[in-house]
Amino acid sequence: MNRRDFLKTSGSFALAASLAELAFLPAARAQGEAPWFFVQIAITGGWDITLGADPWLTALPDQRDMYIEYNPSDIARIGNIAFGPSMLPIKNYASRLCVVNGVFLSPSDNGHGAAERYMQSGSTNQSWGDFGVEVLETRPAELMGVATNSSVYLGVRGQLVTQLGNVPSFMNGSSAPFQSSQNDRNLISRIEAGLAGSAQKLKTLKDIVEMFKQQGSNVGDLHHLAGLFGAGLSQIGVLSFNENLDTHAAHPGTHLAQQTKAWEKVAEVFDLFSKVEVNGSGQSLLDRTTFMITSEFSRTAALNTSNGKDHNPLTNSVVLLGPRIKGGTTIGGSNLVTHAQSKTGSSYHIASPIDPATGLPTRVREGARIIRPENVAATLIESLGISRKRFASVPDQTLSLSKWALK
């Protein structure tokens, strides 16, 4: 039963309001365990994975086949993860990260929207919402629902969405709601009275935001997300970082700088989450949060005639971090097919099949598997401890990568 069904069934707002405090409690906490959180981050525009999660590691390629702007021997390797130059801002978190390379979307480019939906949900069915929305469908919703700095794709779902930009007015407006002594049936007054009933959570939110201010932070959306999580007002975040990565022209230099900015923002989220303790548990938000970081697709291997790189749905990468994610891990990989090898005469960069026994790229086709977004989604469902049968958007027989990606 989702939140909407629950409200329908309860039949009255008053009953719903009286039960609201129960609903705010995440399932795990209701069972006496500390809560967990989920954040999906989309670095929009289409990143160049050779500059990030899937850098070129062997001898410099022929630039007609693949353009790279670094010396492969300079690539930092920490654990089993190779950090392309743009991804260096998160290298301090290497021991917590799992990189999934060679994620195949489609044989041809279907544009930003379709690819974004697929990467963000693990499904090509437009009925399903973003992965975080589907996660929320499996559990009691908190007061603020899904928190976002941009927009959330809901599909057929009716989940609450809170814009992080609205959090300051929520904090300021909920401290002393006006209540008239006459018999008032005004709905908003009753909702505000219910919010005031969450005074302790509001206080915690304000305390966390104040802590960031005192640490010299210029408080913004990311701080408010950490505040909402720390206060128990939300457990699901959907973030979008747009750094103009769609470099169909003038790729060299530009894309690397922009993509680095995006990873710096991801690092900022990790840093902020590491500073907020969850309910006196001795653990930080970072310890309790599972992250999925994606972009809608990668970029073609070689430069086009405008010195740009176009959309490449043949291979992509996903970066995971979370309490059950096996850190320092890389799964899958990709291949460069040179212009000389290609039937079209143009080079291309494509996901490599993996050996299902090892999770490593293989050239043996028999029994090999191609990783697709739904395999990553299936892995995340298992990492969050959600029953595969309850998760509608990813069929429960879909192969997960848990054997290699989870502790």
Binding site: R4, L7, K8, F13, Q126, S127, L143, M144, G145, T148, S150, S151, V152, L154, G155, V156, G158, L160, V161, T162, Q163, G165, N166, V167, S169, F170, N172, G173, F178, Q179, S180, S181, Q182, N183, D184, R185, N186, L187, I188, S189, I191, E192, G194, L195
Partner: protein
């Protein structure tokens, strides 16, 4: 012909879209924003001049996948979005530092309407300055009359308010609101209390619902 049919279908779709709202007589997101813009004389509502899809969903817009509103009635998400819009409009009205003549004229006109009982005799050129220094009336009767004026400006007459069946005793409500925004015994400038009263009144069902 195909073009004409396409335009007709598109018009119908847009028409249906604009009619989407919560159940129970609440205005559609589009009409709510229009009502607010009209109240504030067309000044900017900042981020609320064009709401995101998610904010529109929180305000009762329909899910295009199902044709149903995302929620049956306003909830916490609605309060958050609507409060943000009210804050935006009220700050832009009372605290804007933009000195463009067009905006100053709009603000002057609307502030004169809202604070009319306190700004009698003030010439237009002085309205925006006077609004920052005019004091809350000393007598309780004057304060209550001022609150009654604000209620009329936002919600209508007592009879119109009571027709919605939400407020049983408008006089009691006025007195409670007066004590909330202009606490007795406190001498203060009237502007912030006025703004707070507007924020409360504009969250009333009598403003949020169709008649």
């Amino acid at each position: 012909m195909k073009l004409a049919i396409s335009i007709l279908l598109l018009t119908m779709a847009l028409g249906l879209h604009s009619q989407a709202s919560f159940r129970g007589g609440y205005k559609s997101p589009q009409d709510l924003l229009l009502s607010l813009k009209e109240k504030f004389n067309g000044i900017s509502g900042s981020s609320c001049d064009s709401l995101s899809d998610n904010d529109r969903a929180a305000m009762g817009d329909q899910n295009m996948q199902t044709g149903e509103p995302f929620a049956d009635e306003p909830g916490a998400a609605f309060v958050t979005v609507w409060s943000t819009c009210l804050n935006n409009y009220s700050y832009n009205l009372f605290y804007s530092t933009d000195t463009s003549p067009e905006l100053l004229a709009k603000r002057t006109q609307i502030v004169r309407e809202i604070m009319a009982p306190l700004l009698a005799g003030v010439v237009d050129e002085q309205v925006l300055k006077a609004m920052t220094t005019v004091m809350v009336p000393a007598s309780e009767a004057e304060r209550e009359a001022y609150i009654a004026h604000l209620m009329r400006w936002v919600l209508g007459t007592d009879e119109e308010i009571q027709a919605y069946g939400r407020m049983t005793d408008p006089k009691q409500y006025r007195q409670d609101l007066m004590r909330h925004v202009f606490p007795p015994g406190v001498s203060a400038y009237a502007m912030e209390g006025t703004r707070q009263a507007l924020l409360i009144l504009l969250k009333r069902d009598e403003f949020l619902m169709y008649q």
